[in-house]
Subunit: 150 residues, 2 copies
DNA sequence: GAAGATTAGTTAGCATAGCTAACTAAATTC
DNA sequence: GAATTTAGTTAGCTATGCTAACTAATCTTC
């Protein structure tokens, strides 16, 4: 097919994509939540923990920025993580700041959750062709590229 | 040019994909939430309303299934929608069931939200190439295929 | 170096949303 | 007609989001 550069994304297609992407994200998370609940850690806590585990230690404000929530919200999320022994707070030279880092237990719990998600995803992916599976992997890159621009 | 990194999906990459998809969905929704808040309707209410607007009227239990939440949760979501005049409840032949349908106001609010999301998405998409934009639409197709299998 | 301004984080208080358990009311089954 | 099943609600818990207002530490400014 002579598909060409002139084929632009018509405005009405953008609307459909936006709606479907929105809806897909909501329902994807609802499904994954089922498995994540096995960890006994809430979704916001799990996501914040994942930043610390994969991205390294940082301050509360930095973590709030990374998670796109307000400081009071992150303050409570971290309090929960600390109460469960998944995160440690260490003092810094700047007496106002705290340094947050994942504990061994926190790292372990996160990796177990990761394993469960991979299981679920692998099962779901098995309904797609090899090609589609590889394609999906590439497409997640695109999603990650546009999120910071939203 | 600027083509997505073409790497194979080795088994160990499945973990990375699962994590990134999970994280991308979380952060996508956090971004969209900012715009959605302008509607004055919460995310769960907005999503349920969208099912009624685009999918048509149905019972509370059916709506709960579509949204993958428990009946008590949907009961409260619908109560909020009704309180705001976005949804109507009508009796059915089966006295236990209710028929839920979006009101004109509900439909209008949803479409305004859709417009805002499209604006945001279109802006973000503008940083991608033509080709990448088309690919993103395919990603949504794949996501919609795998979500029911999760 | 003290007064004031800024910055980091917490506390308080409100709303939404998720769950389970236990209830009411209607329909179906026996 | 009694018992069971089904649809939805109510009550009560937890987690997450917000803003406003606070404390404490640091930085600025004179």
């Amino acid at each position: 097919m002579a598909d060409v550069k002139s084929k632009n994304m018509a405005p009405r297609d953008a609307a459909a994509i936006a709606d479907r992407l929105h809806s897909a994200a909501i329902h994807l998370l609802r499904k994954l939540r089922v498995r994540d609940r096995e960890s006994g850690v809430g979704p916001a806590q799990l996501s914040a923990l994942s930043v610390l585990v994969f991205g390294g230690a940082r301050s509360l404000g930095e973590l709030a920025d990374a998670e796109q929530v307000r400081p009071p919200t992150m303050s409570r999320i971290v309090a929960g993580l600390q109460r469960s022994g998944l995160v440690r707070r260490l003092p810094t030279e700047d007496g106002r700041r705290v340094r947050l880092e994942a504990s061994a237990k926190g790292t372990k719990i996160l990796q177990e959750g990761r394993k469960r998600r991979v299981e679920s995803l692998a099962k779901a992916l098995s309904s797609l062709s090899e090609n589609e599976q590889k394609h999906l992997a590439e497409l997640v890159d695109l999603l990650q590229q546009i999120i910071p621009k939203l």
